[in-house]
């Protein structure tokens, strides 16, 4: 079976591979959770690339309704056309605007659908999609016809855990929690993204990064995406790895920390720690 595997750009752990392949072969949605910045959204892109299917992205916001993914009936423009006496107004299907799922269902080739950050939407959002994701079909009330998927799409759903998802929804999904990568995996990830990084720089950067993650009380721990941004900056500046090495174990504020610490309280906290350790040492 040609399944999903780590690529030279994206390092997937074995458990993630199993989860993706299970979801693909049983044709069920895969729900992916994990700390922000661990590559949930990127996963969908990689799966699409690995399976050679086009990707349809549906980014969910707090105002998104489930119906919008299926279709919308643009009543306002019909009303306007009615006022202007347009001929189009007689056919209601002129005012049915197709959503992302409809697009995916109508596609002639199988596609990957990404429903990004499903937890941002209203609590009823997942419930409203139960049947659609289960049967991969829905009914258009205005035109009285059923839209059925030509090929069941591969559905990948991400969540940042801001809201609990209903049980009935979870029952229909496979679930994967992306654990924060350990050091070895992180080295592989760095290798994949920056094949020509200086070994020493990468090692020191990783030291600083993991030490930073260990600082208790950080509001937002830096994650993989922050590390990648930071390392890119370091490489552009062509920084000497020596600078990153902490003198006698004392905590120092890493250069260009703006890429790692995204919260001013965190920067303050870190400055205080650095100050304390300087005074202590």
């Amino acid at each position: 079976m040609s399944g999903f595997k780590s690529t030279d750009k994206y390092i997937a752990s074995r458990d993630l591979e199993v989860a993706v392949n299970a979801a693909v072969s049983l044709q069920r949605p895969l729900l992916v959770k994990g700390e922000p910045g661990t590559g949930k959204t990127v996963l969908a892109h990689e799966v699409a690339a690995a399976l050679g299917m086009p990707l349809i992205e549906w980014h969910v916001k707090s105002t998104t309704k489930a119906q919008q993914g299926l279709y919308e009936y643009d009543a306002v423009s019909r009303l306007r056309d009615g006022q202007l006496g347009d001929e189009r107004v007689k056919d209601i299907s002129n005012y049915i605007v197709r959503g992302k799922l409809w697009e995916a269902f109508e596609s002639d080739t199988p596609v990957v659908v990404l429903i990004d950050e499903i937890d941002k939407a209203d609590i009823e959002f997942p419930n409203d999609l139960l049947l659609e994701l289960d049967k991969m079909e829905f009914f258009v009330y205005e035109t009285r016809k059923t839209v059925r998927a030509k090929h069941r799409p591969v559905v990948i759903i991400t969540s940042n855990n801001e809201k609990e998802l209903p049980d009935a929804f979870l029952r229909r999904c496979f679930f994967h929690y992306i654990r924060f990568p350990d050091r070895e995996t992180m080295e592989l990830i760095l290798q994949a993204h920056f094949p020509d990084v200086k070994q020493e720089l990468a090692r020191e950067a990783l030291n600083v990064f993991f030490k930073l993650r260990d600082v208790p009380g950080l509001k937002k721990k830096p994650a993989t995406s922050e590390l990648l941004d930071w390392l890119k900056l370091l490489m552009i500046d062509d920084l000497d790895p020596e600078v990153l090495r902490s003198k006698d174990g004392a905590a120092v504020i890493p250069p260009l920390h703006g890429a790692l610490l995204k919260n001013e309280q965190d920067v303050h906290l870190f400055e205080r720690l650095a100050f304390l350790s300087r005074r202590g040492g």
Binding site: L26, A75, I123, R171, P216
Partner: protein, 392 residues
């Protein structure tokens, strides 16, 4: 075939259903997992666990149910890969030992020794489930090559890896020590209210519609506003008396804050642990007490429950019938906490004791387990976490 496993999961409180069991079987049939235990573990996890909160519990159950499988057959010592032994040696040698190695005739000699030693060990541990023991001797130092040591083999041999994965149990704890005042608590508790206009646009906003239609030169522009609905109902249980006395002030603050924040709010008192009776007025606890069963019957599962207590008591008060210090309880406190947490969908335990000291009292650990780790310190960040948990 795996029915006992599913049943064990359900006993452990993991909501795995027949549907998921069938899905797992389907996935096995489709050949998603290769025929090894690692893949099976991953596949079972992705099928049966639907929330990271249950991952740890799953690991524990998996560990017990499939204990017999744990070191899969093992590999003959003769076939141990050279690099594997090398990394084992490198990992566990101190500089002094390295000097000894030099004395003994270099690295290859040491590898010979190590191989021999492993072979001996295998014979001695023939019947055991682990083929590497813990009692290393001379050239390998006191640490020897214990089961931990096998982990360094994970790059080369994946055999133990899955065991390691489900034996590794991770929790994270953050602590935040901002002092609480009434104002702070109010801020945090306000999050609990869903008074705020939230949810989907459902009501027609006539004023705005008229305004924007006029702006649009008369073509109709409909404006909608989210429907206002007040869904939050809260049930508070206060621990009163005993070791809580020092925390009474801070509890009063939370209480007074909570009181003005919710429309549907009920509170009850208990002492140390919740048992078959709770009461409404502490002074007249005898007359005002009512059965906990009645409370469960009266308040629907949609109420959000907050326990406020330091959970510091003798462990018997939780674990044993008759353990209560005040009266004879027919059923253990744990049974009652379980009953409450199973009835209500969302619950949390606020603990006024500093989070650092939680590990020192056995009873706090017990209660934390009972409330599925939803215990939060009574600090601003703790309350924030709690409200987030409750309003999920």
């Amino acid at each position: 075939m795996f029915a006992p496993f599913i049943l064990a999961l359900r006993t452990a409180g993991l909501p795995a259903s027949v549907t998921e069991y069938l899905t797992l079987m389907g996935a096995m049939q489709a050949g998603v997992a290769n025929y090894n235990i690692d893949d099976f573990y991953y596949l079972a996890r992705t099928t049966l666990v639907k929330d990271e909160r249950f991952l740890d519990r799953f690991d524990r159950v998996f560990g017990t149910v499939f204990k017999g499988l744990e070191p899969p057959d093992g590999i003959a010592v003769e076939n141990l890969p050279e690099e594997w032994l090398k990394s084992l040696g490198e990992k566990f040698l101190t500089p002094e030992e390295l000097a000894q190695v030099q004395a003994a005739g270099g690295f290859d000699k040491l590898m010979e020794l190590l191989k021999q030693r492993l072979a001996e060990q295998k014979e001695r541990h023939q019947g055991g489930s682990k083929w590497i023991g813990t009692g290393g001797t001379s050239p390998f130092g006191a640490n020897g090559y214990n089961p931990e040591g096998v982990r360094i083999g994970q790059n080369e041999s994946r055999h133990r890896r899955a065991v390691k994965v489900w034996d590794k149990r991770e929790y994270k704890d953050l602590d935040d020590n901002i002092e609480l005042g009434t104002r702070n608590i109010k801020l945090a508790l306000r999050k609990l209210r869903r008074f705020a206009r939230q949810g989907q646009a459902t009501e027609l906003d006539i004023a705005d519609t008229i305004r924007s239609t006029a702006k649009n030169a008369g073509s109709l522009d409909l404006k909608l506003v989210p429907e206002r609905h007040n869904a939050v109902k809260v049930l508070l249980f206060f621990d009163i008396g005993g070791s809580m006395d020092e925390h009474v002030r801070i509890c009063e603050e939370l209480f007074s804050a909570a009181r003005t924040e919710f429309k549907h709010m009920e509170y009850f008192y208990f002492h140390n642990c919740i048992y078959e009776r709770v009461w409404k007025t502490n002074k007249r606890r005898m007359e005002s007490s009512l059965s906990t069963f009645d409370v469960l019957r009266k308040f629907g599962p949609d109420y959000k429950v907050v326990f406020v207590g330091d959970a510091s008591m003798s462990p018997y008060e939780i674990s044993h019938a008759g353990g209560s210090v005040e009266h004879w309880n027919d059923e253990a406190g744990a049974v009652w906490v379980d009953r409450v947490t199973h009835h209500f969908r969302r619950f949390a335990w606020l603990n006024p004791r500093p989070q650092k000291s939680w590990d020192h009292a056995a009873s706090i650990g017990l209660v934390r387990q009972l409330v599925e780790d939803r215990m939060f310190p009574m600090t601003l960040s703790g309350i924030e976490q709690m409200t987030r948990e409750l309003s999920k």
